[in-house]
Assembly symmetry: C2
Homo-oligomer: 307 residues x 2
């Protein structure tokens, strides 16, 4: 599981940072990639990576500002041209469906795969065997969602050696054991599956937030997360500017990380007013409140180790 | 007057060629730039040039396929962020207005300049003192326009020395002479203005065409042009493929150039199936019918000298 930054700038594309898009690579976990936001030229950024558009399974849009959505029609079209055939589900605020459908119909683009568009509200917006995704509204003037991606705990691996030693041979019973069900041996003895399973695998938690002022919802979404991706459009000291434009400063992002007790904070959505020589300073500002802070850069990847 | 290529590829962005956009630089002529098509990431390409978005006065869209329009919302928004205040007029096929307006309203983008959107039909779509723009439908499955940009002939420059020698002193009369009106001297003598004017400046003609099969309309738009920009999605020999997909081959573009008697042909909209090592071959194919052929590349500029 990796978080890969395709675009990390604010408002407009700049030479050093494209507008927002973040890929959550779930290649080992489900063979797919989830995208968070899709600013203009996200598909161009993808061209310079190993990401295959046909692997994109879900796209979560935080809010409808242009720097977060204008790359959608092109990415969706190109995925079709390039032979993507599996369904894509698109999640985002009300208005997303009209925008995407009119962009595709104006250009007479007919996708060769099924595209499901879900206009979300707060709460659990997706759940299957392995993952839950929750959305909560942040504070950005227009509806802007933060997403909490929860990997479910996984049962331990089967201890095959121990099973064989106990005289339990491979068969449908192994599946029961894997599922943690109590098992009855041929001699009538009932034993606990847990004896034959390695330790449970704790799931990871990632919080990827849309543009926002410092707010409580951000803390709730990030509680105990392995990684919090939080915007930091402005540097420390620019709190009133940040408030006025519905954005956050480095220090405010760090405060959220600290209160939520996350393992790592990554600052993104960096204004082009800060150039390469300023980036380290931005990180240092955040580290005063929250030491495990890094700053996103286009094409940077953060690996999320198992707990 | 220069034609500057911002994107020269076909269908999808590729590493070597972005999707279509062409800038007609009229900086000397009117202090502005006209854009023809605006594929995704046109604004990103502009970042690497000396083109100022606020200088963009008109945008002509040839057709509504995504690779020709998906960069519009971003470019129009960024022009506003960057302080563009002068009006922009956007010309293109029916459907363009809805697409642009819904993209801007979905993202809650309020431009700080006036944007006029004109859904065109065939004929003269713009005329002022200095330029005429004509549009004609090509053959591309969906409405695809070609544009013929005609610079009007300009009167010769005032020959000030000669005027002074004839005892005609500066004043409102100079304007009359400049306009070619007959003038009456104080002594009642009537003389022809032309005596005091340098040679007339012939205007230039540029034809910039949308995607198309080989067709007569292309020839009519390009008649006697200084430059014809014609698509060449396919190489020679792929005529049936080109026909099927409503595109042209190198040789067909050259045939149009030859029949129209243009001064120069530039091939563009090159498929990514052809890589750098193929480009010279594509040019040579066209040169067999029309020797003065070049191939467009992203960031290439063609200067259009006075006649
Ligand atoms: Zn943003
Ligand atoms: Zn095209």
């Amino acid at each position: 599981m990796e978080v890969f930054f395709l675009g990390t700038g604010a408002g407009m594309p700049a030479k050093l940072r494209n507008v927002t898009s973040i890929a959550l690579k779930l290649l080992e976990e489900r063979g797919t990639i989830w995208l968070f936001d899709c600013g203009e030229a996200t598909q161009h950024q993808v061209l310079h990576t190993s990401i295959k558009p046909r692997r994109i399974e879900k796209i979560f849009i935080t809010h409808l500002h242009g720097d977060h959505i204008y790359g959608l029609p092109g990415l969706l079209s190109s995925r079709s041209f390039q032979g993507g055939e599996s369904e894509v589900t698109l999640y985002g605020p009300k208005g997303l469906k009209d925008y995407v459908e009119i962009s595709l119909s104006t250009s007479q683009t007919y996708l060769k795969y099924s595209l499901k568009i879900i206009e979300i509200e707060e709460g659990v917006i997706f759940e299957d065997d392995a993952f839950i995704v929750e959305a909560k509204l942040l504070e950005h003037g227009i509806p802007s969602y933060g997403y909490r991606i929860i990997e479910k705990d996984r049962p331990g691996t089967l201890l095959a050696d121990k099973l064989l030693k106990a005289g339990i041979n491979p068969g449908p019973i192994y599946k029961k054991i894997k599922n943690g069900e109590p098992i009855e041996l041929e001699n009538g003895e009932i034993i606990e599956s847990a004896r034959f399973l390695g330790p449970k695998q704790k799931g990871r938690i990632i919080a990827i937030l849309g543009d926002t002022r410092y707010c409580d919802a951000a803390i709730q979404l990030a509680l105990d997360a392995d990684l919090l991706v939080h915007e930091a459009t402005f540097s420390s000291g620019e709190e009133s500017l940040a408030y006025e434009y519905f954005h956050s400063t480095t220090v405010q992002a760090a405060k959220v990380a600290e209160k939520a007790g996350v393992r790592k904070l990554c600052l993104t959505h960096i204004s082009s007013r800060y150039d390469r020589t300023d980036w380290m300073r931005l990180v240092e500002e955040a580290r005063e409140s929250f030491p495990v802070t890094v700053i996103a850069e286009d094409f940077k990847e953060i690996h999320l180790p198992l707990r």
